[in-house]
Symmetry: C2
Subunit: 306 residues, 2 copies
């Protein structure tokens, strides 16, 4: 049901060196029809189109860090939105350098954009609220990488109660009062009788949470922040046999991703950001599943329900 | 035969708005194993890999103009070459603004490149030699577009004569003299007899020429420059039914491309840079073939022998 939809679309899950098997980092979170992009590697707009996502429903882009494989797709996407006649502001969240490096490019190449690109700077070393609307909060997750990097926690806000249609009919409750009931109000009948809300509604679906952690060294400090999330995407660039390279490049192994998932008691783990050197990612999956069985491999085109 | 190979690989032939049918402008000219890229739209490096072209054989990139759909792929490609451990300089030919807009991006994102990116500025309004090596000349072709734009003419240099093996054996000509014969020298036998070169060689294969003209308004001034080329790639963004839009955006129709091909007496025409609005490019092909029958449609992955 579109009203309840909360899912993540994987556009690309390769690491810096693109291959014929994997595109560069980019995802789109769909919360009840609103689309939020996380990272925008080269060719993200092409995969976006291939996955038939709606350009008009995209208003917010969150960039985890300023490595090219996470943001070189921005220029093309921004140009395309302009050519499609976009009018609404596009909001880009990035660390403070973001605007400094992207704005001159936009000023040169996108001179006739029919809309505004609005940059919002965040401090990647803080766990802070950086975006909020009626249904969603987005918080940063401080990560440890070679450059300032933040993950993102997408938290649904408390949701409405579910109306029990039979009771609405039974008490002939007018339509204009439905929203109040969903928010928890009792109903007072025309003759003054109070019908408690519990008789008219079912409990709300619990709010869900999605955490995106890429790129990062194994970092236990994120555990309390992502504790209990429904889905965790955690980078697993390498496997344990390349532990040294993993540390040197400030990435994580599949085993480490799984250890974080287990310690944070998350419900599901998506592995991604695969090194080009890994020819068969099942090695990563096996390694992760030994620690955290509910692990899956990301892949281009994969849609995971939160 | 690799020694004689001269071909163009089409990486992308869509216009500014990418679609699921076409990638953005990029081509690779292969002259006897040396690769020369023309334009580098977003995702060019991905298609480059898909077409199994060799990254190590690429040393020169020619950018026709500074619209994003012709150059946003440069950053990713340059990063990738660095990650692959490239040591040789990479030469980028562009109008003077090129270095001004690209260099700051490279300085920020590609801080640890193990090779140099060398920019060469050209004047897009001149028909001038901008590159030359032992086998090839590249000249600019002034085009008319919304920003300074040049096409490129790839001209093979005069080639060597073909040795007649039987005559080499007959006169017992030492191997060290073969190159001199190929260049036109006569052979003098140990007893002083002169064997004229014509008896030892067949004529050289005539040098070939490839012209790339995109993006441009219909422009008869290019005709003498591209006169008689073996293959002409000419943009044909629209068909005649959208003549007004064509003029307004400073592009060409398929008919105009064909008219240029016919007037310049070229041998073959490749149509490309297709508008996203054109659902079936056969409309363009039909329109062009009425004027110039030896026309073909570009497509991603197409390789055309020059």
């Amino acid at each position: 049901m579109q009203m309840e939809k909360f899912e993540v679309n994987i556009l690309g899950c390769g690491s810096a060196l693109p291959t014929t098997r994997h595109l560069l980092s980019s995802q789109v979170v769909n919360l009840r029809g609103k689309l939020f992009m996380i990272d925008c590697g080269e060719a993200a707009q092409l995969q976006y189109r291939t996955m038939k996502l709606s350009f008009s429903r995209l208003n917010h882009i969150f960039i985890s860090h300023l490595h090219g494989d996470h943001c070189f797709g921005l220029f093309g996407l921004i140009s395309t939105l302009g050519m499609l006649g976009r009018r609404d502001d596009l909001h880009i969240f990035a660390q403070p350098d973001g605007e400094k490096v992207f704005r001159p490019m936009l000023d040169y190449f996108c001179t006739d954009l029919p809309y505004q690109v609005v940059f919002h700077a965040f401090d990647p070393q803080k766990n802070a609220l950086i975006f909020e609307d009626r249904t969603l909060k987005v918080l940063t997750i401080p990560l440890k990488h070679r450059v300032p990097t933040a993950g993102f926690l997408f938290e649904e806000k408390e949701k409405n109660l579910h109306i029990v249609p039979e009771m609405i009919d039974f008490y002939q409750i007018p339509f204009c009062q439905i929203n109040a009931l969903k928010a928890g109000a009792d109903f007072v009948t025309p003759d003054g009788q109070t019908i408690p809300n519990e008789r008219l509604t079912h409990p709300a679906t619990p709010p869900k949470r999605y955490a995106y952690c890429s790129d990062t060294l194994y970092n236990e400090k994120i555990i309390p922040i992502i504790e209990g999330v429904d889905v965790l995407y955690h980078e697993s660039t390498f496997c344990e046999s390349r532990a040294e390279r993993t540390k040197q490049t400030m990435h994580s192994t599949a085993r480490q991703a799984a250890e974080i998932a287990r310690a944070a008691n998350v419900k599901k783990l998506i592995l991604g950001h695969f090194s080009a050197r890994i020819k068969d990612e099942n090695v990563l999956l096996t390694e992760a599943c030994e620690i955290f069985p509910n692990s899956v491999l990301a892949s281009e085109g994969l849609v995971v329900e939160i």
